[in-house]
């Protein structure tokens, strides 16, 4: 049994397996029961595909989910797993991750689960930077309860619970995560297997809480919500790709082989779209300790019907994790520790005793 060292600090402490593993080993015997065409299938396939490549021992991986369509996810992976209750997966995962350094912890959640009922647990997990990877399947709708608007639905959304249009304002999950001090924040798309795999691998390798928003199509209740970033004729203008160290350019390719549009600082302090060849185009720095630019980039996402969104890793910075700190305090206290029974006897006797003969 060996331990993974850098460059995968997120997996340090988790035992590895020397023999190669395959996707079949990671596939549970349960019949997958999502609707035909659901984006969840593609995400499951991607996860089953790349998990073996992490080289971890399968029994040291735990998937925790809440309630919702996406939360059935753990049943389909032959690792340890818990399908818990609505919104609480980050809290349960915090207990697992803090109690056991040797466990690789994943949370699978949706926009309702993570951002409505579980919003508090989500932000506090990210604030603490507990070592876990959170996959937030965002389909901008409530699927399991059959089609009410969600906290990421666009204003004016007509649903069963909003027959004349929603008057709610949606969350931008990436903005929320950055505001909650998350150390790793990314966005990817269910249908782009290559990008999805790359982002999830980077998220797993990160030590601390990784929040990955996955645009996920619900073909039944919100079909086409992400067409702009998926369709060949629109995606060049819709996807603003974020790659660390690369200029942020998108749109139709220009003479230099890069997008004819770029992102630059605006006079208001945010960011704006400029010509791709402008000298002001920003070079993406995911490792910038200051989250201001990452936040500004997140605001390029449409709050209404989606026409444009940055995709990629917004932020990936290193800071101390809650679980490492908690374990360190215990390790320090236990250094040179006497026998537990003797310690218990000393403890319960205290200092002020008297003896009756």
């Amino acid at each position: 049994m060996t331990t993974v060292e850098l460059p995968f600090p997120g997996l340090a402490g988790v035992p590895t397996k020397d023999e190669p593993q395959n996707r079949k080993e990671y596939t549970a015997d349960q019949e997958v029961r999502w609707c035909p065409g659901c984006g969840d299938y593609a995400i499951l396939a991607a996860v089953q595909g790349f998990l073996p490549d992490l080289g971890l021992r399968r029994e040291n991986i735990v998937f925790v989910s809440g309630i919702g369509c996406s939360s059935r996810f753990p049943y389909y992976l032959d690792t340890y797993g818990m399908h818990s209750i609505h919104g609480r997966a980050p809290a349960i995962a915090t207990g697992i991750a803090t109690a056991r350094e040797d466990i690789n912890v994943w949370v699978v959640t949706g926009d309702g689960d993570a951002l409505s009922i579980g919003g508090n647990h989500l932000i506090h997990a990210m604030r603490r930077n507990v070592n876990m990877t959170i996959l937030l399947f965002n389909n901008r709708i409530y699927g399991l309860t059959k089609g009410q608007y969600s906290p990421t639905s666009e204003p004016g959304k007509i649903t069963k619970s909003t027959p004349v249009g929603s008057v709610d304002h949606p969350f931008n999950p990436v903005s929320l995560a950055l505001g909650a001090e998350a150390s790793f924040v990314a966005r990817t798309i269910d249908s782009d297997r290559k990008h999805l795999t790359a982002v999830l691998s980077a998220a797993a390798a990160h030590r601390g809480t990784s929040l990955v928003e996955i645009y996920q199509n619900c073909p039944i209740f919100n079909d086409g919500a992400f067409d702009a970033v998926k369709e060949n004729d629109t995606k060049a203008d819709a996807i603003i790709p974020l790659e660390h160290g690369q200029p942020i350019r998108f749109g139709a390719l220009g003479e230099d082989g890069l997008g004819t549009k770029g992102i630059a600082r605006s006079s208001s302090g945010g960011v704006e779209v400029v010509a791709g060849n402008s000298p002001d185009v920003l070079v993406h720095d995911a490792h910038n300790p200051d989250p201001t630019t990452a936040f500004a980039l997140s605001r390029l996402t449409d709050a209404g019907v989606l026409h444009q969104a940055p995709i990629g890793i917004f932020r990936s910075v290193s800071r101390p994790t809650y679980d490492d700190g908690a374990r360190q305090q215990i390790a320090t206290a236990q250094a040179g520790q006497e026998d537990a029974n003797a310690a218990l006897a000393t403890l319960i006797n205290g200092k002020d005793t008297w003896t009756v003969l």
Binding site: Q30, E59, V62, I67, A91, H121, Q334, N349, D352
Partner: protein, 645 residues
Amino acid sequence: MAKEVQQLDRVIIRFAGDSGDGMQLTGDRFTQESAAFGNDLATFPNFPAEIRAPQGTLPGVSSFQVHFADHDILTAGDAPDVLVAMNPAALKANLSDMKPGTAIIVDSHDFTSRNLIKAGYEGNPLEEEGAGSLAEDYNLSVLDLTGMTVEAVKEFGLSRKDAARAKNMFALGLLSWMYGRPTETTIDFLTARFAKAPDIRDANITAFKSGWNFGETTEAFVVQYEIKPAAMKPGTYRNISGNLALSYGLIAGGVQSGLPIFLGTYPITPASDILHELSKHKKFGITTFQAEDEIAGIGAALGASFAGSLGITTTSGPGIALKSETIGLAVMTELPLLIVDVQRGGPSTGLPTKTEQADLLQAMFGRNGESPVPVIAPQSPGDCFDAALEAARIAVTYRTPVMLLSDGYLANGSEPWSIPDVADLPKIDPNFATETNKTVTSKDGETSEEYWPYLRDEETLARPWAIPGTPGLEHRIGGLEKGDGHGNISYDPANHDFMVRTRQAKVDRIAESLPPLVVDDPSGKAKVLVLGWGSTYGPIGAAARRVRKAGHDVAQVHLRHLNPFPKDLGEILKGYDAVMIPEMNLGQLSLLIRAKYLVDVVGYNQVNGMPLKAAELAEAITDLIAHTTGDVPTTDSTGEMEAVK
């Protein structure tokens, strides 16, 4: 001046002052001195929910009652023999508990017209004379404790305010002299507590000694009292509060099971002490997680249990309401989990610092679906240790959440505790699953070895507990109904009915592991049984003693296990003509007993945020005996003596 020494068998003192006057500390020190002296004792701290209620007002009064004796006692006492009142509000708030002729020592310094008005006095009660006056009705001592304190500590150059703050130590010194308490423990305590502030340390020690010396020299007090050490069972003792004993019991649960403890919790009165205490003991491998809310606290604890820790969450009633859904998940996933509810006055925010027993039905039934949870309750501060260890045993052995119902009276009250020998504590076997447990034959006749997470132990009906990191036993659990044995999701109607009954049967099976109940019926002739649970043990026991002393027969049974009930409870109940159940609620145990055993119990119910009073309860028991046997009581059952050895 040689003073007269009077022998007493027991005394109840109540220290009362403003919440900033240090009355809890004063009471605690007097308690430690009495413990060191060898008296039996019981304490009752009573303080406002506000950290600093407006100074000098009735809501701001904080008090600490200590009952100490030369024999074994069961409660902190109904009414004080001595009241120490540090200001007008403290006098006014506590006077109604004082019987005529009892002693009242008053610090006159704060009896200014402004403070008298704040406390609601029209004139100065200390100056009144004649019929109905304090001086006439009580053994009143009016002393300028603050003034004497300031004078005594002036050499240390403290501000007047800081100097006056040592008045509680002056009062403690005076009372310590009066009752012949040993002073070393308090001087050692002050030395350690103020080690970093020598001026404050010296001022407090000087004030304490000055109070003692004042008692010895003044002509205001001519009598010193002696309360001999109590004859207690052989053993090593310490004074301990319920929350501390409960914390130690949890730690013992970790040590005895070999499981690391994971406490996931959120601060709440009166349970926070347990978080504070466990935070100090990381060397036992204890993780304390102060979560963002009650729900996350129990969620993290359950996650840690899944990962192989002893998951614990601590709270009070409002927190239980928030944790209910996760308790249901623990019932469904059948994982060990300890839920500690230090009950307080409810509903809603209720009375945060006062005691109550009104969460029993919430503990039993406060979840959706058929969701059985074992419930156990400690009966005294020291007993919180054993109850916590027992809760851990049940949780780990039966793979179930367990509700441990303490209350505010137990949490903050204290008593001498016979410290157990660690070698005598029960061992708890986590019995982790390490291997597959089921041979499965496929349709084509091939066999394979599988791990079935819901294949049960025949004796306990507990399911196996395989923790992450165990190769070959990978499995998924969750809140959806599980298929019997294999544990996969099942919507099969017959399976659901079977699993509901099996979860209930598992909890019922715990009764097989319980010892017979102890029936306290000294004469064996009692027709009336008093049945209780939790912190009413003391008042019920004290009331029973009074009743017996008056010549009547009464039996007492006290329940530690409220779900499941011990197997012999039904037979015991049938053996009596009448059963009384005293509770600090409107009859929650009564409801359960009536429902299960069809016994027409008589409730004795009080919900005023305070412990039951033994004298009043004794009267009610005596009335029930008279009613049951047809006898009219001939002796006053409310005599002063609580106990006879």
